[in-house]
């Protein structure tokens, strides 16, 4: 119960952060990615703020604890190998991000904004995830 309330709160804060930062404005995202146009470095500062806080908490708090507060263990990825899936997945994601100006979080938050593009984006993103699950099952 407490764990689920914590994740609800985390989701809420995440959404507000995305909205304030400019990530829910596709034109702003494209402005960051458009290095040959009127480049807008704002989103770099989103990363700086987010990584700054998260890294401080990870190295200062999480690494010194045996377990999280409301759960039995930390579920943190431990892989270090670089495989084709990682690179190819990042390329496919990047191309899609550049085409629409939406990544998953801002897409979901923008659903609340009520615009049709966010609805189409999230619907097709879920379809893409479903497609991956089906393909992965066939390959495995």
């Amino acid at each position: 119960m407490k764990a689920n309330l914590a994740s609800l709160l985390a989701g809420l804060i995440f959404a507000v952060g995305l909205g304030i930062s400019g990530m829910t404005q596709p034109a702003k995202v494209i402005g960051f990615l458009d290095v040959a146009g009127a480049w807008d470095p704002s989103l770099m500062l989103v990363m700086v703020g987010a990584i700054g806080v998260n890294a401080a908490v990870y190295w200062g708090v999480v690494r010194r604890r045996e377990t999280p507060v409301f759960a039995p263990r930390f579920l943190v990825p431990t892989r270090t190998d670089l495989d084709a899936r990682l690179i190819l997945g990042a390329v496919i994601f990047g191309v899609g991000w550049g085409l629409g100006g939406f990544c998953p979080g801002p897409g979901l938050v923008s659903l609340a904004g009520g615009g049709m593009p966010a609805v189409v984006f999230v619907g097709s993103m879920l379809a893409g995830m479903g497609l991956f699950a089906a393909w992965d099952r066939v390959k495995a």
Binding site: V16, D40, V46, S110
Partner: protein
């Protein structure tokens, strides 16, 4: 050049995103990777669904709060709906194949100095910049 630069809200929003992912990690032991959280809901595993669902509900509630207080944060689409649909499929498939997106790799993984996340982040930013360059400056399609 740089006429749209908004450093203060960008940094403030980033700090909130960092606080959120820190909370999820310290309290629940989970990584705030949106594509992974949503992807896990599409393939539900016993005991691993509720926190994902409540996180997504929180995201949507946060969106509703923004809509009532500051609706200007929701910008116009930069592409026609057909392109947005294609973009969504690529984002959905690519983030699952590559195990993460801007949040999971870009924020959480880089914070832990994960080599996979650093490589993924550079790769998706470069791919996105190339995608924007081709769309805007070669094909000239996107507005």
């Amino acid at each position: 050049m740089m006429e749209h630069f908004t450093p203060v809200p960008a940094l403030a929003g980033g700090i909130l995103i960092g606080l959120s992912s820190s909370l999820l990690l310290v309290l629940d032991g989970k990584i705030a990777g949106i594509s992974g959280i949503v992807g896990g809901l599409l393939r539900p595993a016993p005991g691993d669904t509720a926190w994902r669902a409540t996180f997504v509900v929180g995201l949507l509630l946060g969106g509703l709060a923004l809509r009532s207080v500051q609706p200007a944060v929701f910008g116009e689409s930069v592409a026609p709906l057909g392109i947005v649909a294609l973009a969504g499929v690529l984002v959905g498939f690519g983030t699952r194949l590559g195990n993460g997106c801007t949040s999971g790799h870009g924020v959480c993984g880089n914070s832990r100095a994960s080599v996979r996340s650093m490589v993924a982040t550079v790769t998706f930013i470069v791919a996105a910049a190339v995608s924007v360059y081709v769309a805007r400056h070669v094909l000239g399609g996107a507005a």
